[in-house]
């Protein structure tokens, strides 16, 4: 017995088993206690309410939704809106962040100062204030509901949002979708062939031009072959009639609501400031000797950046970049402050109408957790690819 107690392996196992048992008991106790307390307080529990009719309207919906849809459907609309704003926000913030980050290292004094000022101002003001600033600035800057500004004859802007023609897909539109997929496959093949050819012969075929031709040519050809299954639904603007009826007609064209624009702007501008710093630190982490070595090998500055600096900088950039993506996604839950119907906004209405606080909060947490896991997994994959392979 004494030898077993002194054996580090067995002792280690014993402690771990005790720990798991205690943790399990704690979790079970919390669940059981809550269920009993809910019952005792006479509060209905369970997820049955998701099938009941929601009955309220939502201003932006990516898939079909009406007041007669269910609470579950309403939450789905909210989730899609969250995905839309975080997805676009991540793309915008990354592009802008890389530009600002590189600009901050520029040898041009003005460019680097402007970039530094951008970073310092944007990241030192609370996001909620920026959100209000952009939203109300957007609202105050554009013409009222019965007027409009028109750009290029097809884009119309007023306080109701940006009104653009909506792409309507015909029955045979899938042919075009298929053509795009095939074009992408061909492009990948051409790129690989080009690279092989370059290493074999030293000459690089005009891969870019070939790919451009494929990308445009194939879908256009498919469009005509399928009998032109696309057309545009143009927004209708009424200038006469009672005042309330003037302005853009509902359900005509596509409307990008100002709530979305305000939220997207503030999220991407704010996060871009952080990404800029991440990019700067990544580039500065690549030692100067690397650049000099590349130059002495005869690589041109652009090649140096593309083949030597960026691949090494990515190792440093990707992990903190993942953090910023997660932050942006989570920060998008501020949406309700400016009436953008994201998951939290819609869920809040569901919560209030049904009173199922525990359930709705659990759905929120589950979705955000899932979203964060997904982002982490994707970024983890890129990180692995960028990581230093030691031989």
């Amino acid at each position: 017995m004494a030898t077993l107690l002194n054996n580090p392996t067995y002792r280690g196992y014993a402690f771990q088993i005790v720990f798991v048992l205690v943790l399990g008991w704690l979790v079970w106790d919390i669940i059981d206690n809550t269920a009993r307390n809910l019952q005792k307080a006479n509060i209905a529990a369970g997820y049955g309410f998701l099938d009941r009719t929601a009955g309220f309207g939502i201003v932006q919906k990516l898939v079909d939704y009406a007041e007669s849809s269910s609470y579950g459907r309403a939450l789905l609309i909210g989730l899609l809106n969250t995905l839309l704003v975080s997805g676009l926000g991540i793309i915008l913030a990354t592009v802008l962040g890389f530009i600002v980050g590189v600009a901050r290292l520029s040898s041009n004094w003005l460019v680097s100062r402007v970039a530094a000022a951008y970073v310092e101002i944007l990241r030192n003001i609370p996001l909620l204030l920026q959100l209000f600033f952009w939203y109300f600035m957007v609202l105050r800057a554009v013409p009222g509901m019965r007027e409009k500004w028109t750009l290029f004859g097809v884009f119309h802007l007023n306080i109701g949002g940006l009104h653009v023609p909506k792409l309507v897909l015909g029955e045979t539109a899938w042919v075009i979708g298929a053509a795009i997929l095939i074009a992408i496959a061909i492009m990948i093949f051409v790129a690989k062939w080009g690279a092989a050819r370059q290493s074999a012969t030293g000459y690089r075929p005009p891969v870019g031009w070939i790919n451009l031709a494929v990308l445009i040519g194939l879908p256009v050809a498919a469009f005509f072959v399928a009998g032109q299954p696309l057309h545009f639904d143009v927004p209708v603007f009424n200038e006469t009639g009672p005042l309330l009826m003037r302005g853009f007609q509902a359900d005509s064209g596509m409307t990008v609501i100002p709530e979305f624009v305000g939220l997207l702007l503030s999220l991407s501008l704010y996060t871009a400031a952080y990404i800029a710093e991440v990019v700067r630190s990544g580039i500065q982490a690549v030692s100067r000797g690397q650049t000099e070595a590349a130059a002495s090998l005869g690589l041109r500055p652009r090649q140096t950046l593309r083949l030597v600096v960026v691949p090494q900088a990515m190792r440093v950039i990707i992990p903190p970049l993942t953090n910023q993506y997660l932050n942006l996604t989570k920060n998008s839950s501020l949406a309700v402050a400016v009436a953008y119907p994201d998951l939290v906004a819609v869920g809040g209405t569901v919560l209030n109408q049904t009173g199922q606080a525990v359930e709705v909060v659990s759905i929120w947490m589950l979705f955000y957790l899932g979203l964060s896991f997904l982002t982490s997994a994707v970024m983890g994959y890129f990180n692995k690819r960028a990581a230093l392979v030691e031989r």
């Binding site: 809550t34 606080a357 659990s362």
Partner: protein, 340 residues
């Protein structure tokens, strides 16, 4: 099974606070800590629950809590207020964070039956209305077809709005903000044609606009919104106390008892007044209070009519007429069972 999954997530909070909810009586708890914890409107709703620049609370919802404090402690100041938003309010009451929720909350069946709370009565008969710009040239809510409507999220107003427009076959678009402040700003910026919330709230919000006179409140009331305080289910004694505090306010107005004249009325021969003041019989004892509990209420905060006039009545900036909220004997529907 579902119940268990749901429970995992905020289990810890409920496990800690749920015990108080089901434990000793709320009255004993309140007496022991020496003050009443009251959930009030955190959104600065003038006339109902609002704080001034000194942090002093006012409003009829606030005065109801003061009335309860007067009944329990004979001191209307023994109240602490918890500012709550629409989303937080029920959880705050359920979890025992507040002893009573008095935050212009609509009494509905689902709230009364499945949220673990009980409505005490109606402090204000309200209904949802619309505010529009006079320049819009609209005189009835029925002309609002195709309108963009701003409102606050997380309340029954979104549902009422949808029901009203659907039942009249009118298209609409709703823009729902988290806080009143932003609803008002967006409405003022012209994002919406109309602003909808409870009519009482509209009167209050209109005053905050740059030019209140350019806006009007449409005559239609599209919903029944009886606003009242609520307490947790399962503590009948506390429920009765809260209910009769409200009835005392109403009965005092009916009996002509005011904050100013209640001391003189002690000599009154009217048996109803004598019972009210605790001179005849002891109606306080069964609810755990002294015999003169009702006297303390009126001495502390005045009767229902006084509270109404001081906070939202015609002489205040809100200028709301008594209407439905008048006593039953004066053409309204406010009616309280007798104290006897």
């Amino acid at each position: 099974m579902n119940r268990k999954i749901a429970s995992i997530l905020i289990g810890a909070t409920m496990a800690l606070t749920g015990a108080t909810a089901a434990g000793a009586g709320t009255l004993e708890d309140v007496k022991a800590k020496g003050f009443l914890q009251c959930g009030a409107n955190g959104g600065n709703l003038i006339g109902f629950g609002a704080t001034d620049e000194k942090g002093e609370w006012s409003g009829i919802d606030v005065d109801f809590c003061r009335a309860m404090a007067s009944a329990i402690f004979n001191d209307p100041t023994k109240v602490k207020f918890t500012p709550l938003n629409a989303k937080e309010r029920f959880t705050a009451l359920q979890s025992g964070e507040v002893d009573v929720l008095s935050r212009n909350t609509t009494w509905t069946m689902s709230r009364d039956s499945s949220l673990g709370l009980q409505f005490v009565g109606v402090t204000y008969y309200d209904g949802q209305g619309f505010m529009v710009r006079k320049a819009l040239g609209v005189s009835s809510a029925l002309e609002l077809s195709g309108a963009k409507v701003c409102t606050q999220t997380g309340t029954t107003t979104e549902l009422n709005l949808a029901d009203y427009f659907r039942s009249h076959n009118m298209p609409y678009e709703v823009v729902a903000f988290e806080k009143n402040e932003e609803v008002l700003q967006a409405y003022e910026a012209g994002r919406c044609d109309a602003y909808t919330t409870d009519a009482s709230g509209l009167y209050a919000e209109r005053l905050k606009l740059t030019n209140p006179d350019e806006h009007m409140i449409l005559p239609e009331i599209i919903s029944k919104e009886p606003l009242g305080p609520a307490v947790r289910q399962g503590d009948d004694k506390w429920f009765t106390l809260a209910k009769w505090t409200l009835f005392a306010l109403l009965n005092a107005e009916e009996l002509g008892l005011t904050k100013a004249n209640i001391d003189e009325k002690k000599t009154s021969d009217n048996p109803e007044i004598k019972r009210f003041l605790g001179i005849e019989g002891n109606f306080g004892e069964p609810i755990g209070l002294p015999a003169d509990w009702a006297y303390n209420v009126i001495k502390g905060v005045g009767n229902y009519g006084e509270i109404f006039d001081a906070n939202i009545g015609p002489s205040t900036p809100l200028g709301i007429a008594r209407g439905l909220n008048n006593l039953w004997s004066k053409g309204g529907i406010q009616y309280a069972p007798p104290i006897r």
